[in-house]
């Protein structure tokens, strides 16, 4: 018996030794097959505007399971938008860098675009099909120079527990929204909806108005080019957006004075929402990405946690427009060192598994076709197809976005009337 036990123990030990360190995550093994030598040694640097990018750094660890000698790093570039062109020319030129849709057409970024690798090149083997088509931009030559890593949208954070507590349903239409706001007010909630409104950079007014404007243009795509060109004629198409915004303010769904107390459009917005007395907090997906980390920073939330989701603001009778926009995008520096391994990392990253994993960590909307995987963004997946608007697909450029942002802010604050704002379309500053 003892001998048998000694043999079993020895065999178990040998099997244990043999098994040590050989197992890799099943998912990764099935999803990614390395093409280069696992012994390759090199450094890959990714430059961006995020102060922190732990979601990406987690991917570094996962990539290192295949290529342990590849040293990956993320560098935050100060004054990214102005510095990236210089950075790409300098000694610290990164292998991969952030790129944004608004850079398109801006001459200041011509050199940046000039360095971008065509990621649609079949030789690279990137699985671009895993990304929602509306998020991918093709240039005139059909090239894909930027691939979205995250997407974002405009909408509102909803305190589901509060709705449940007050016996109210989350609104699906504009009328329901008005009714819910009235009901909350009756129940003593002075601010049924809040948001950042302190300056014109990214105010709640834009968050409400822009999707409606984009949705209106989607119904009149022939006007997009003129709107991009700041044709005053396009101002008329802002009317539905600006009227809806005014209505919300007039009906006291939003108290701008209270909103102005929120000092920034990110942390303060989140912390104010976590106070637990705001049923709906107007914000973008980028703001939602900060909620996860700040749950523990909010004493109120820690004391009384609640469930929350993100959904488009229902500003039409059919519901809210889901503006499906890229958040950050990656471009590959075609002149970088170790381009092969850089492309290998992109091939590793551009899969549903890895992109969803990153989106989950970062709490941003995944750019993949699998929208419903994150419960915070689950309502987004329920948006009717006709309400989904892709600015990239529609051809919306940054100039257009700036005009509606300024118009909505000025109308919202009462600086301009709706008609004045519409009339000054293209000249608003």
């Amino acid at each position: 018996m003892k001998k048998l036990l000694a043999i079993i123990l020895a065999a178990t030990m040998l099997l244990g030794f043999a098994a040590c360190g050989t197992e890799k995550p099943q998912e990764i093994q099935e999803g990614f097959q390395p093409k280069l030598s696992a012994e390759t040694e090199c450094k890959i640097n990714i430059a961006g505007s995020y102060s922190n990018f732990e979601a990406l750094e987690a991917e570094f660890d996962r990539f290192n399971e295949f290529y342990p000698n590849v040293e990956l790093s993320y560098t935050k570039i100060d004054d990214y938008n102005n510095a990236i062109a210089t950075v790409l020319e300098g000694n610290d030129a990164p292998n991969i860098f952030f790129s944004f849709s608004w850079m398109t057409g801006n001459a200041a970024y011509d050199s940046v675009f000039g360095r971008m690798e065509n990621l649609a090149d079949e030789a690279l083997g990137l699985d671009l099909a895993c990304i929602r088509p509306g998020l991918l931009s093709h240039d005139a030559d059909g090239r894909v120079l930027m691939v979205p890593i995250f997407s974002t949208s405009y909408g509102m954070l909803i305190n589901n527990d509060l709705f449940e507590k007050e016996g109210l349903a989350v609104p699906k239409t504009l009328q329901e929204l008005m009714d819910v706001c009235a009901a909350f007010r009756e129940k003593g909630y002075k601010n049924p909806m809040m948001g950042y409104s302190a300056d014109a950079s990214a105010p709640l007014m834009n968050t409400i108005a822009y999707p409606i404007f984009a949705g209106t243009l989607a119904e009149h795509p022939e006007m997009v080019a003129r709107a991009n060109a700041c044709d005053p004629a396009a101002g008329e198409y802002m009317r539905p957006a600006l009227e809806a915004l005014s209505q919300l303010i007039e009906k006291k769904c939003v108290d701008l004075k209270e909103c102005e107390k929120i000092s920034d459009n990110y942390t303060e917005v989140i912390l104010r929402f976590f106070e637990g007395d705001v049923p709906m907090m107007i914000c973008t997906g980028d703001t939602v990405s900060g909620t996860g980390k700040r749950e523990s920073q909010s004493e109120a939330f820690t004391a009384h946690p609640f469930t929350y989701t993100f959904a488009p603001v229902p500003m039409t009778d059919k519901g809210g427009y889901f503006l499906d926009s890229p958040s950050i995008q990656f471009s590959v520096n075609s002149a970088c060192n170790d381009l092969d391994m850089t492309n290998e990392f992109m091939r590793f990253l551009l899969t549903k598994t890895e992109l969803n994993e990153m989106a989950s960590v970062k709490r941003l909307i995944t750019p993949t076709t699998d929208l419903s995987f994150d419960k915070v963004y689950a309502p987004v997946a329920d948006v009717a197809p006709e309400l989904i608007v892709s600015p990239s697909e529609l051809g919306i450029e940054d100039t257009l976005a700036v005009q509606i942002r300024l118009a909505s802010f000025k109308v919202g604050t009462g600086e301009m009337t709706i008609d004045e704002a519409m009339a000054k379309y293209g000249t608003l500053e």
Binding site: A6, E57, K76, D78, A83, T86, E89, N91
Partner: protein, 846 residues
């Protein structure tokens, strides 16, 4: 102690040793680890010194520039020109930035534009608050890592506040001088110096935990955020960690993003800088205990091996002990049984001797019967002697030194002895016993009759012993031609319907002290030596022994031996022509008797019952051709032998010679038989010679014996000295010798013997018969003393041991003491005479 106990103690010792070694190793590992940790911390401190010196050096350059600029009331353009002149490092630059506009000039152009020296910090928060910049020479004023707006490189800047003259109106404007260095420059310098820490990483953090230099393992942009992400913590722990890292030197353990344990050594860099230098290394690299695993493994393997060997040795040793104990127990039991049963085996012939002696005393007037009884007593006595010899010879059997003493003997007498010895038990158990001989033509054979007798008796007595009362034992003896020249093949087969033997017992049938385990066997006394001795003897005689047995049905032993025929045989035994009627209900017996009588020249007829015999005798009588002799079996169904005799005598013929065959003791029926008219008796089996002698005797023919009495008359007058302390033994030997005219003097012990031989005149004694165990001086010492005498005759006189010490080693002792021969008591007269003759013949020759 039981085996489990020994195993438990062994395991306990092993565990104790391993535990001690492990504790010792763990203690050593702890010490070593502490040393390594201290070493790692010290290396970090050394790096801090290097870093501080480096930073101070770089800051000093910046200080010198600032002092010079301030002292010269320079414009920004002049200051830039001055720095360009004094600046020698290609990868560094200086920025002069007005604090109010956050704009200024760089000593190097903007990347991509050879004419653009303008630099702007408006989009950077670096100069929004300049309180961290101390006065010149007061401290190291170093910025966080930031992106150099002129070339996009991640850089740090050594700063000083300066005052520049506004060229527009000559007013003084506050500005900042930044001596900008790429981080890569620092990273290249910050290489961990120790080879043994090849996986160590260096990181610089500022007071808030933001990385100045970030190595690959660190994540996030802030160390504390990184720590928080991968290590269990709370705000209090984080505050304590912050205090620790920014104000003291030491080390902590933390988990990296992969969940691996890392050792982090920290130490603040120059107080004014408020940076901390962090050195990180995987704890696995410090796991010195791993180095000791081979030692533990070796010790464990050694102990395990020792344990297994120990266990195997103990098992083997125990097995041997068990076997030895079993053997000892078995031997002890066998010998106990042997001793207890010896009594029986000795009493059997003793019973015959005493019984026959009583019969002889009762029939003193009957000379023939008395003579017969005395003859049987002698046979039984010989058997008793043989039995004792067997006991003594058991050592010889076990050592394989059993030897034969061949002499000429009568197989007839051997068989008679067999039958006589068996008769009492056969009778007692009421066994149907039949001893049949066939074609025994050579009566005198030449081999060791005692051993042969022993073989036959052993087998026969076993058959009788192990046959239930009322059973039957049949013995057949057959003489055949032998393939060996000068021999006859004697087949002796004993078949019984007794208890039989199991196949398992059959395998060890001939092992000494072996008896079958059977309740019926246990009731029967036996030495367990018989078959072992028998087998040895059969082998020694070159014969074979075969046993066929079935439990519950019986056993058949068959011994086949080729025995040399003696030179001397009886003359050709031929009867005068005679018609003989043999009557027996046993047809085999009838056939063998007819064959034997036929070989003697008799015309034989057979009858299987008394009635048939009467008819035949009457018929012959009527024809006037009476039988010359009728041989009748005593025991027959319907009409037994005595009744048949009685009716022959009364109804047919009163003079017809009749012999009555008896297989048993005839004394109880002898009177009745004689009264009925029987003329004589003859015992089964019917040997040729026995029949010949008995018929001749009955018919008044002279008995002729071929065996001449030995003539020992030549020994008359021989004078010997007998050293014997026992009076009776002395009397017996003196009388025995006297029967052959040999005279003897007695010495009562060895001392007297020596004295007598010393004083005897030369040639007085032919030899000395020397007892061994005697008072004062034993026979061995006496012999040795005699052999040392000066008188050559006395010293060389033949000395024959005559002793009850009959073992081979006793004989060897005697010979070693100087004796010339050995005769065991009770003495065989013939042997004594042979020894004397041998010596006299030798003397005659010399």
């Amino acid at each position: 102690m039981k085996r489990t106990g020994i195993i438990f103690i062994n395991v306990l010792i092993m565990v104790a040793i391993l535990a001690t070694v492990s504790v010792y190793i763990a203690f050593n590992d702890k010490i070593t680890r502490q040393r390594q940790t201290e070493h790692f911390e010290n290396t970090n401190i050394a790096m801090e010194h290097v870093t501080e010196n480096y930073l101070e050096g770089e800051q000093r350059i910046c200080d010198v520039w600032a002092q010079y600029i301030n002292s010269r009331n320079m414009t920004m353009t002049e200051a830039a020109a001055f720095i360009r002149v004094s600046h020698v490092l290609a990868n560094t630059s200086a920025h002069l930035v007005y604090l109010d506009s956050k704009k200024g000039v760089s000593t190097r152009t903007h990347l991509g534009d050879a004419d653009d020296y303008a630099v702007s910090y408006t989009s950077l928060d670096l100069l929004n608050d300049t309180s961290w910049i101390s006065d010149i020479g007061q401290s190291i004023n170093i910025s966080r890592a930031y992106t150099n707006p002129m070339n996009g490189e991640q850089s740090i800047a050594f700063c000083n506040k300066i005052t520049l003259r506004d060229p527009a109106d000559g007013s003084a404007r506050a500005a900042v001088l930044l001596r900008v260095m790429p981080l890569s420059e620092l990273e290249d310098k910050w290489v961990f110096p120790q080879e043994e820490f090849e996986n160590a990483e260096l990181t610089l953090i500022d007071f808030d935990g933001d990385y100045i230099i970030k190595s690959k393992t660190f994540k996030n942009s802030n160390f504390f955020e990184f720590y928080k992400s991968y290590n269990p913590t709370d705000p209090a722990i984080l505050d304590a960690l912050h205090t620790k890292l920014t104000s003291s030197t030491g080390s902590i353990t933390l988990l990296n993003s992969r969940g691996e344990k890392m050792l982090l050594a920290y130490t603040p860099i120059a107080e004014s800088v408020e940076w901390s230098l962090l050195s990180l290394i995987p704890e696995a690299d410090l796991r010195v205990e791993m180095q000791n695993w081979p030692l533990i493994g070796f010790i464990s393997s050694g102990l395990l091996l020792l344990f297994i060997i120990d266990l195997l040795f103990i098992q083997r040793f125990n097995k041997k002990l068990r076997v030895a104990a079993q053997a000892a127990e078995s031997a002890s039991k066998a010998k106990t049984d042997f001793l207890s049963t010896m009594s029986h085996d000795i009493r059997t012939p003793m019973n015959a001797i005493i019984g026959l002696t009583a019969i002889a005393q009762k029939n003193l007037d009957d000379t023939e019967a008395t003579g017969e009884n005395l003859r049987k007593i002698a046979l039984a006595g010989n058997h008793l002697l043989t039995l004792i010899n067997d006991i003594l010879d058991i050592s010889k059997v076990e050592s394989g030194k059993l030897s034969l003493s061949p002499v000429t003997f009568s197989i007839v007498e051997t068989v008679e002895n067999l039958v006589n010895l068996s008769k009492p038990m056969v009778k007692e158990k009421n066994i149907d016993f039949n001893f049949r001989t066939n074609r025994i033509e050579k009566e005198y054979l030449y081999t060791d009759p005692l051993r042969l007798n022993q073989i036959y008796i052993n087998i026969l007595s076993n058959a009788v012993k192990y046959t239930e009362p009322g059973g039957n034992v049949n013995v057949d003896m057959l003489e055949e031609e032998s393939p060996v020249d000068g021999c006859v093949r004697l087949t002796y087969r004993v078949a019984d319907n007794g208890i039989g033997m199991s196949p398992e017992f059959m395998k060890r049938l001939y092992q000494p002290f072996t008896r079958q385990t059977d309740s019926r066997v246990n009731r029967i006394q036996g030495t367990g030596l018989g078959l072992a001795i028998t087998k040895q003897m059969v082998d020694l005689m070159g014969g074979t022994i075969d046993c066929q047995s079935e439990q519950g049905k019986g056993t058949t032993f068959t011994v086949v031996i080729d025995i040399p025929v003696a030179d001397r045989q009886r003359d050709d035994m031929q009867l005068d022509p005679i018609d003989v009627l043999v009557v027996d209900d046993d047809e085999v017996m009838l056939q063998t008797a007819a064959d034997t009588l036929g070989s003697l020249g008799a015309a034989t007829e057979c009858a299987t019952s008394g009635a048939e015999a009467l008819e035949k005798i009457a018929a012959r009588h009527g024809e006037g051709r009476d039988y010359g002799l009728v041989i009748l079996d005593w025991k027959m169904p319907d009409m037994d032998g005595i009744e048949t005799v009685r009716r022959i005598r009364s109804e047919i013929d009163e003079t017809l010679p009749i012999l009555l065959i008896s297989a048993y003791d005839r004394t109880e029926v002898e009177d009745e038989a004689k009264k009925a008219g029987a003329n004589g008796f003859i015992n089964k089996p019917l040997f040729r010679s026995t029949l010949y002698d008995k018929i001749n005797q009955l018919l008044g023919k002279e008995k002729r014996s071929v065996e001449a009495e030995e003539d020992y008359s030549d020994l008359a007058g021989v004078h010997v000295l007998v050293a014997e302390d026992n009076d009776i033994n002395w009397e017996v030997i003196q009388a025995t010798l006297g029967m052959f005219g040999i005279t003897a003097d007695r010495a009562e012990n060895g001392r007297v013997c020596v004295d007598m031989i010393k004083t005897a005149e030369k040639g007085r004694y032919t030899l000395i018969f020397m007892d061994v165990q005697m008072p004062e001086m034993n026979g061995l010492d006496a012999t040795k003393t005699i052999r040392k005498l000066d008188d050559p005759w006395a010293a060389s006189i033949p000395i024959i041991a005559m002793t009850a010490d009959a073992f081979s080693e006793n004989i060897a002792e005697c010979l070693a003491a100087g004796m010339d021969g050995h005769i065991a008591k009770p003495v065989d007269v013939k042997l004594v005479l042979k020894e004397i003759r041998k010596i006299t013949e030798r003397n005659d020759q010399t």
